[in-house]
Structure formats: structure tokens, C-alpha cells
Amino acid sequence: MSTEVTKYSGDVTYHEVNETVLSMLEKPTFGWYVLLLTCICTWVMGFGCWISMMIYGLGMTGLSHPIMWGVYITNFVFWVGIAHSGTLISAVLYLFRAKFRQPIYRLAEAMTVFAVMTAGLFPIIHVGRPWYAYWLMPVPNERALWPNFKSPLLWDVFAVSTYFTVSTTFFIVGLIPDIASARDKATSKFRKLLYGITSLGWTGNAKQYKNYVAAYLIFAALATPLVVSVHSVVSWDFAMSIIPGWHATIFPPYFVAGAIFSGVAMVITLVIPLRKVFKLERIITDFHFDAMCKLILLTSGVVTYAYVTEFYVAWFSNNMFERYQFWFRPFGEFKLAFWGMAFCNCMAPLTLWYKPFRTNIAYLFVMSIIINIGMWLERFNIIFTSLARDFIPAAWGGYNFSWIDVGITIGAFGWFGMWMTLFIKFFPSIAIVEVKEVIEAPVRDPHSSVHHH
């Protein structure tokens, strides 16, 4: 085996991959149950907060005039952002033939799907009358009323629902051959049935592979512009408005870069414990972390550039409202969020230029959490500061801290965690077939030219 291949996937054989990955699906441990229960309790708590909010009204949140969007939209953007790197790693890197993606992409995709499922809750939690949130869908109704397709929020509905559908499809399609592997190794009745149904009768014959791979490429090709568009559309929720600090053309690329930035960090956060618990060191190697760190460095640079540009534009435009807004961000009521963001997103990642840090797993784990906090603060910073100080000084206001906001925010992590926990125990979290793909196929005659067809 060539050293290059080893670099990508470790020194493993087909069988070892199969064994290692499928061993993750073995009988759950006590620790797994504790984790699952913790996650469930967390989101049930969050759900309780939401119920009380529905009963008493949105006054339970910290929102107020004029900060009409707050923690929920922050969370929404944060989770959509998290979702992005999954599709990025699976689709964009697929198109670029970046071979470090194989062992991590499944987890990243699962993260995408569950993060979108989490993100999708927030607009519903956020609206004043969630039971009418379906009015945003173009559902035929007796009132002959339709939604307004000129609204960025409706674009959002379409973008996020499309994103959810496509990324879920992509995710499930990728899972099919691996579930077939799991099916063939399954022992319990339940699992046999589960995998029997979900593998859709996949056998892995050559014709299936031909069409499957072709379709997969198209999915990747479709998902790539989608990644860019979804966060662009999310950014247009802000950029299409007239509010100083939001009304900016830089938002789409800025948001997309930020999304990748936070998403990769989240992947690292998830992969590190998984690798440790399931002893996947041979499949997920230092090489993969190194590659992801480089991606973080790149996107951190882009995001920092965007921050600086915002300030520059505000100064250069000579617009008093913009200028005030960008004075307010670092020195106003929410300055902690700004400086926290600047530290977490711009300064802390700079340490990754030093190579030993990039392969220090403990350091990376801490760093990835710092980045996640930083990216949450970024969204907080954009949403809160712009709304708090816009055109009419007499209408300026602040935000009231609320435990309901905190509860729902934490609950979302429980919701996400529950799906992730269930997923790693029931479905292969590492793409068996695709990892095998980057292992050179075993040949009897090493001089045979099969690989050069």
C-alpha cells in the first residue's frame, strides 16, 4: 500500500474498516444510556420553557421593543451555520476530491441533518403564534390567501426546507450501502428488521454502484450551490432589511464563511470524543485533524476580514447611522459580545498556525468549543446591536435577560444531542463503503494494472 493512501485512511483493510465501524453499533453501554437520558431531559426542559411561553405569551422571553429578534434567531442562524459544514465536507470536498473527508463526512452529515432539524425549530419557537406558522407554506386554503414570495423570510422557508430535504436525502443515500453492511452483520431480530428495511435491498452490485456513484456526484453537485445559497438566504434575512449593520452586501459570503468555520469546529467537537470512545484512531488520524484545522484557519481569516470590512464600510460610507452602529458594537451595551466574538473567532484560532497545536487533540477540543461560542456571539452581536440602535433614538432599547431564552437554547443542544446519540448507536457513523474506496483494493498480482483503468 502506498504511503499516500495510508495518510488518508490509516493502515487498514476492508475487513478492519467493517469490523471497527460496525463494532460501534454493538449493545449500548451504560454511559450511552446516561448520555441519551441527559439529552432527552435537557430538551424536555427546553420544551417546557416553550410551552410556558406559548401559554403566557412571548413576554416570557427577553425580547422587547425594539429588539424583536433575539436569542432564538441567534440560535437559528447558529444551528444553520453548524449544519453547513456537514454538506460542505460531504459535498464540496467530494467534488474537490479531498480525500481527508471520507472518515469524517458521515458524522458531519448527520450533524447537518440534526442541526437543521434543530435550526428549523427556532423560527417556529420564535413566532408569536406558532400554531399559524404553517401559513408561511404555500398551502391551498379556503381563504384563497398565499404567502408573500417577496419576503426574505419566505425565501428562508424555501431555502431551509430545501436544504433539509436535500441534505437528508444525501445523507440517507450515502447510508444505504453501509446499512447493507450492517444488515449483513446484524444479529438481533430488531436490527435485522431495521437494517433490512432501511437498506432498501441494497446488494452492491456493479450496476447499482454505477448509478449510485453517478447520482451521488449529482447530489454533491446540487448540494454545493445549495450550501452557498442557504446561508446566503439566511444572511438576506438581515441584509435585505434597512437596518444599519444589517443592510450590507458583504453578508452572504461573510455568513457562508462563518458557517463553514463554525461547522468544522463543531465536527471537531463531535469527532474527538467519538474517536476516543470507539477507538477510531486508525481511521481518523492526525492527518484529518490537521486538514480540518487548516480549513478553520482559512475561514477564520475570511470571517476576520469580513469584520474588518464592515467597520471600514461603515467609516467609508460616511453614513451616520452605520457609523453609530459600528461605534456601538465595540463600545456599547453589548460590547462583551463583540470582544468575545473577536477573541474567539479572530485571535484564538491564530494559534493553529503552530503545527503541534493542530494535532494536539485536547487543545483542539477546547479550541473547537471556543470557536463555537465565538460564532454564537457573532450572530448575537449582529442581531442584537443592530436592532438596539437604529434610526430613531427615542425608540432605542435593550434586552431583558430571561431564563426561558436560556432554557430553550440549552434544550436545543439536548435535542441535537439526542439525535446524535441515537444515530451513532443505530447507524454507521463512519462511511464504510467510502472509506474502503480510498483503501487500495486488494490484488493478488501487485503489478496488475487494475487501478489504472
Partner: protein, 170 residues
Amino acid sequence: MKGQKVVVGVFTYLDDALKGIQVAKDNDKDYQVYAPTYVPALVHAVDSKRSKIAMISLTGGICGLIAGFALAILTGLDWPMRVSAKNIVSIPAYIVVGYEWTILWGALFTLNGMLLLCRIPNPFRKVGYDPRFSDDKYGVVIGCEPDQVDQIKEKLAHTGADEVMVKEGL
């Protein structure tokens, strides 16, 4: 697969499996090849034609584009309401919907096309399938009449198969 019986060859090595395919081709038999992963050489040996899936996706994409714009425009015209000074049919604003639906429909068509072309979901195991094929073995399954079984079996064994089995065909 034509034939009442199938001969299943289980291979560890890729080059052996390719030889097994050659056996089927030489004897002009219907055959099926299973692999633990996507191996371009193997797939190419079986079927060198390009997949038709791209056309399906394209169709879906175009349908989605039209449907997206149509949805936005027609619902807008159904009850024309002015917002701000924007036109009732405001094409720049509708690009997003058209774009998203292009991708959505493209993806859904691709999914259905793939399922169709891969012949899944299919509740029935394919003939001659062996669980090892999803692990680390290649499988070449050749359909034949009962009287040809021995001949094929012997030829497969010569290619270096780990094991050669005979199973019932369709």
C-alpha cells in the same frame, strides 16, 4: 438473470474477480458482480456506458425552476397585494424560490432516478448474494442452465476464487 441455476464465485482479490467476469463474458452468460465498495475498474468492466441519471436530474431541475417561478408568480397574481412600491410580479425577488426549487426538484428527481436505476427499494435479495460481499469479498454470479453448472464452476475456480457455490436462480 437468465438461467435456472447460478454459480457464485467469492473473491478476495480484485484482479481475480475481473477474471471471473471475463469467464461470464466468454461464455456469453448473464452475470452479476457484487463488491464491498465502489471500484471503478470493476464497474467499468461490467458496464462502461455512462449512467442516465444526469438527464433525469436535469429534467427535474428544469421542472423545478419553472414550478418555482410559476408558484411565486401565480400566487402573487391570485390576490394581487402591493407591498411597499414593489411590483406585483417581482422577478428578482422570485429568483430565490426558482433557484431553491431547481435544486429541490433536481435532487428529488435524482433520488427517484437513482432508486429506479438501482432497482431499489427491493425487498428481495438478489440471487447469489452473500453477506461477505458487503464486507471484504467480491462476488461474481453467473446464471446458467443446470447442465452448464459444472463447466462454469470449474472455470470460476480457476480464476482464483476463494469459494465457488451453486445456488438456485430465478
